[in-house]
């Protein structure tokens, strides 16, 4: 594929607002996970909760979109000059030539959960004030962002579970390459809600401790929330030397199980292989792999097998979910932003919370930060339904 310019990016997660606290947390190997005290949830688990989301107001004209998910998006949009960059992008290319492709798994689901607690005792009706289209509906996050950023190109939400906000790069890339648009706002937002906290708990997939990807004693995920956005544009002739580019994207399906990964990671391997082919790169060209690395026994085993079978046992890799938690539909975009920071700052972030690496996992998992030239990063995102996506990001040189 023709590489695309990532002309702006931002991320807000439990590590902080914007790229600066995100980077410093990675440099200090600090985790943002804390014991779950979210809403009225009574589960013995850790979460990556973003501070101050409920204090965030939406612009008056968009108040109908008010819910935790869109508040988190608004909060993130105001960091790193992203909103200004998006407005400038729309002015540069024309509003109709900029698309919006965002990932989420649960959008404003919390709003519906709260409405179900406030049903009319006689009729069972939901409260009058409950807005479906602009909160609960999966599209609400893309609709909010397109209105907020004043863009009029094609818009859609990708909701392919935990691969959603990696796959949006694919949708945007195809439309840019097909000539429908010249640029796109991509990324994702997922916010804490009871459905995911109680749902993963019911599947016995969430840990009672902070998640420990690739640890011999790993026993599940820590759910997090995040909003991460990037501007993807047609590549100019002479990109800035410090620019980060999207070089490749690969997508596949497991065809195996709704909530368990393929045991040998065949789908994951095929997505990584497809991303390498799209980028016209060999496995040896990848300096660091940002793993999906959720911290469940089966996910990490499957991914490690896939990575080793394609890259061998020496390519450094780690999961940043010990720091951020698993931010579900926002994970792909959050980890794309982290990958961009790794490239700009020559960082391979060691995985936090992992104390003893599972000796049966053969991928080269790193626990300590490494500093060296990072030219090309591969970032993995896999989800329920057996949906897989790998991105390859790199410097302009």
């Amino acid at each position: 594929m023709t590489p695309l310019l990532i002309s702006a990016f931002t991320a807000t997660s439990c590590l902080g607002r914007g790229v600066s606290p995100t980077l410093s947390s990675l440099l200090e190997q600090r985790s943002g996970l804390s014991r779950c005290e979210f809403e009225t949830v009574k589960i013995d688990t850790y979460v990556g909760e973003v501070a101050g989301v409920d204090e965030q107001h939406l612009p008056a004209a968009l108040r109908i979109f008010d819910c935790r998910n869109n508040r988190l998006a608004e909060l993130a949009l105001q960091q790193d000059g992203f909103l200004e960059a998006a407005l400038a992008c729309a002015a540069r290319w024309g509003r109709a030539r900029v698309g919006v492709f965002l990932g989420t798994s649960t959008a404003g689901m919390l709003q519906t959960e709260l409405a179900y607690r406030a049903r009319d005792p006689q009729s069972g009706a939901l409260p009058e004030s409950y807005e479906y289209a602009t909160t609960q509906n999966t599209f609400s996050i893309a609709d909010y962002m397109r209105r907020r950023c004043g863009v009029e190109g094609p818009a859609a939400v990708v909701s392919s579970a935990c691969a959603s906000s990696a796959k949006v790069f694919g949708s945007a890339r195809r439309m840019i390459e097909a000539g429908i648009i010249d640029a796109a706002i991509v990324g994702g937002t997922d916010s804490l809600c009871l459905t995911t906290l109680y749902g993963f708990h019911s599947l016995q997939l969430s840990s009672s401790a902070p998640c420990r990807p690739f640890d011999v004693a790993r026993d599940g995920i820590s759910i997090g929330e995040a909003a991460a956005f990037a501007l993807l544009e047609r590549l100019p002739e002479n990109p800035n030397a410090n620019s980060v580019l999207l070089y490749g994207i690969g997508e596949s399906s497991d065809a195996y199980h709704m909530s368990a990964p393929h045991p040998e990671g065949l789908g994951a391997k095929s997505a990584m292989q497809a991303a390498l082919s799209a980028a016209a790169l060999e496995p040896g060209d990848i300096d660091y792999i940002n793993l999906h690395g959720t911290g469940t026994p089966s996910n990490d085993r499957s991914e490690s097998q896939a990575v080793t079978s394609l890259f061998g046992p020496t390519t450094p890799c780690s999961s940043t979910k010990g720091a951020t938690g698993h931010t579900l539909g926002a994970a792909g975009a959050l980890e794309a932003v982290i990958s961009a920071l790794c490239i700009q700052h020559g960082l391979m972030p060691g995985g936090v919370h992992t104390s003893r690496i599972d000796p049966t996992l053969t991928a080269h998992y790193i626990k300590d930060n490494r500093f060296s030239s990072v030219k090309r990063v591969l970032s993995n995102s896999f989800g329920f339904g057996g949906t897989n996506c790998s991105l390859i990001l790199g410097g302009a040189q």
């Binding site: 859609a156 949708s171 195809r174 390459e177 429908i180 019911s202 065809a255 339904g385």
Partner: protein, 265 residues
């Protein structure tokens, strides 16, 4: 900028509509349209254990996807797919929210794993063994046109046949009062980059600011307005008659998708 592809297969299910042969008779006026509750077949393509777990949206999506691929004579295992729906499984969403409103908050693990928006895409890949990429989109009422743009750009950029599956189903009360989709409706199209033996029509899609076409038949117009996937009906009407002409499909507040068809036979 126009996106071009060939329509090789069609699948459809809806209120009083059971397949494309029948739908073509209704849409062309050869038979009168008599709406009746949508009948969803049991997805025999899934293993029995999985079959029991599937809800209405999965039954709907799998049925129309297999109609479309078999009429195209195409191997679904080799095809990338785009699933477009304005909501996931509304019944599961309701059951989870109801459970979470109770003190015990007991969410069923199966319901939770089937609550994802890409549930139909997941089961389709399991049923067909397809390891090709698959996307699950939502654009509220614009979901059909969003899916069509996605699959047209997919075929343009990665020139292999691909499958579009657009479908919607109802929420039970009390959500139904807030999102009043009346029944299940879905349409699936197999699109190919080159004309083949089974190609029905060449389709060219482009963005436009013209208003969306409505349906002349009041019952079809009611269906078009009531269910997002049925925003496809003006396109299906052309396919049901002589596969020729232009239709403008509902999309966003700021844009519609115009399609131009030419017959292949």
């Amino acid at each position: 900028m126009k996106l071009c592809a060939y329509i090789d297969g069609i699948g459809i299910l809806g209120p009083g509509i059971s397949d494309w042969t029948q739908a073509a008779d209704l849409l062309s006026g050869r038979q009168p349209y008599a709406p009746a509750a949508t009948v969803l077949p049991i997805p025999s393509m899934l293993p029995p254990a999985e079959r029991r777990r599937t809800g209405r949206v999965v039954k709907l999506a799998l049925a129309i996807a297999s109609q479309a691929t078999s009429s195209a004579g195409a191997d679904p295992a080799l095809m990338a797919s785009v699933f477009a729906s304005s909501g996931g499984d509304g019944h599961i969403c309701h059951e989870i929210c109801e459970a979470l409103a109770q003190p015990a908050r007991e969410v069923s693990p199966t319901r939770f794993s089937n609550s994802v928006h890409n549930v139909a895409a997941g089961y389709w890949s399991i049923a067909t063994g397809s390891m090709a990429g698959s996307n699950a989109l939502c654009a509220f009422d614009a979901s059909f046109a969003a899916g069509l743009l996605e699959v047209l750009s997919l075929v343009a950029v990665d020139p292999r046949p691909a499958l579009l599956v657009a479908y919607d189903s109802e929420y039970p009360q009390p959500l139904h009062a807030k999102r009043s989709i009346p029944d299940a409706f879905g349409v699936a199209l197999v699109l190919a980059p080159r004309r083949g033996a089974r190609s029905l029509a060449k389709i060219q899609g482009t963005l436009t600011d013209e208003p969306a076409d409505s349906m002349a038949d009041p019952q079809f117009e009611a269906l078009r307005r009531a269910i997002p996937a049925a925003r496809s009906l003006p396109l299906l009407s052309l396919l049901a008659t002589d596969c020729r002409g232009r239709a403008t499909l509902d999309y966003l507040d700021v844009a519609r998708v115009a399609v131009q068809l030419e017959p292949c036979h």
